[in-house]
């Protein structure tokens, strides 16, 4: 993709060029230079996840993800990718072991502390989890509403992110009225609107056309360039490999480095 040529002296029309993420990326890169040091952002050690009496999904697994990393978590269906992301979101607690995310030990988090933690971590759920009775705008704004942002702050930030996910013209639509791809971008916008330190995405390219997958991954890379640590779960090896990013794979209930 290349940036469209435009007459000198005119401001870029965000509405028109939003599909071309390279432009936005270039703008974002200048506004938000990537951070220098690589600190551990996610550290899991000796983690076992077990649902009830079933076989454990992870068994004494270890992995570390650094600040500013872009990581794919690869694994066959049912291998435990979703469980791993939920672990990092403290939506499931490890049966054993410790998980530290953004300097916080997740085991002790609950109530208000948990709410505050989740505001620092954006999660794009596989099923999006949009509020059916709210518009696109309201769904995205909800992530800010819960933090106690004023209406104006909500408006400013949502207006800022809408063109970045190409949803400006859909702002007043309800989830049922938009396509799956659009719903997914609402979910991404909601995850990112609060400027979280970490973005977790569960199979974000799972059921998208190839060219849409590319656009979504470009979007994530854009966020990553602004300093957000990105973790993407996928069962699609090709998707993970093509980007040339770090890959962790879940195999035999362990988390291993690389594709194989």
């Amino acid at each position: 993709m290349t940036a469209p040529s435009r007459p000198a002296g005119t401001a870029p029309k965000v509405e028109r060029v939003y599909e071309d993420t390279t432009v936005l990326r270039a703008i974002d890169e200048r506004m938000y230079p990537p951070p220098e040091p690589k600190l551990p952002m996610i550290d899991a050690s000796g983690v076992t996840i077990r649902y009830g009496r079933h076989e454990p999904v992870l068994d004494k697994a270890n992995f570390t993800i650094h600040s500013g990393d872009f990581t794919f978590v690869l694994g066959a269906s049912g291998s435990g990718k979703t469980s791993l992301l939920r672990l990092l979101f403290r939506d499931v607690l490890p049966t054993e072991g410790s998980v530290v995310v953004a300097g916080q030990s997740l085991r002790r988090l609950r109530g208000r502390g948990l709410a505050h933690f989740r505001r620092q971590v954006g999660f794009v759920f596989q099923d999006f989890k949009l509020l059916p009775g709210r518009t696109v705008y309201e769904n995205i704004g909800m992530a800010l509403r819960v933090t106690g942002c004023s209406r104006k702050q909500v408006r400013d930030r949502v207006e800022h992110i809408l063109p970045r996910v190409g949803l400006t013209h859909r702002r007043n639509a309800y989830p049922a009225e938009i396509s799956g791809g659009e719903q997914q971008r609402v979910a991404i916008a909601r995850a990112m609107v609060g400027n979280p330190m970490i973005l977790l995405a569960d199979e974000p390219t799972g059921n998208l056309d190839p060219h849409l997958s590319v656009a979504i991954l470009d979007l994530f890379e854009g966020f990553n360039l602004r300093g957000t640590t990105v973790v993407i779960a996928t069962h699609d090896t090709a998707t993970a490999v093509e980007r040339g990013k770090r890959v962790l794979r879940i195999e035999d209930r362990k988390v291993r480095e690389g594709v194989r």
């Binding site: 709410a115 989890k129 933090t147």
Partner: protein
Amino acid sequence: MRYIVSEALRNVRHGGVVSVLAILIVALTTILFGVLYLVRAAVHFELARMADRPVVVVFPEDRLSDDEVRAMATEIDGIPAIESTQVVSKAEALARSGELFGEHAAVLLEGFGRDNPLPRSIEVWAAAEGPEPGSLAALSQQLRALSGVESVTFEADSIRAIGRVKNTVMLLGALVIVISVVVISFSIMLTIYARRDELNILRLVGATYGFIRVPLLLQGCIEGLLGSAVGLGLLYGLFRNLGSLAGVQEFLEPVAAAAIVGGATLIGMAGGMMPMRRRLRAVT
């Protein structure tokens, strides 16, 4: 703030049948409570009237002289629980019954002539404003034991009856409040249940329990408020149409009406509070 209110109103609107039910139950509660309150006012009035009458009447034996009867009255006056006594002579008793019979009195009195059949009596007023039925029985027992006392009557039955009415009123009131709280909390539980996916999502995007709870509490308040307003309206309609039949002269004074609305709002809040913690935790 605007978010909270709009959210709560949204809950009430989307609550559908159950919210309407909750509001109606509160309305019913308000009506019942208003009626009880008005009845209670009547009961109080009755009690006050009774305080003007002697609580115990002692009839001395016929053989005692008037002086002896007066001495007995003085003795009774000395009992600590007793406020005052008054001796009613045979003539006074006759005169009183005369008042009672109005224009026919003259005929009656003439008929009796010299042989006045009415007994002398000592009327006794108790010290406390409203005599307790129990202590009254004890008092009459004490008076009956005095020498020269023929018999003692007291108004135990009517006082007991009024006491019973009073207790029943309180009990009904308490019951009705409990029912309201339960129904409102039920409506809010249903809201939580119906919206569990949404509430779950709110938790996932970083909402505190407080953020989720406050609109639900407010929902309870609104249901209480609307319910009591509707109830007061209906009660007023009842009063206008049936009040005079029931002997109720005045509608609730503004303070009482305000107290009912405020109380209902609090009841709504209590209803909102009850299911909260456990429910929310089970859901999210």
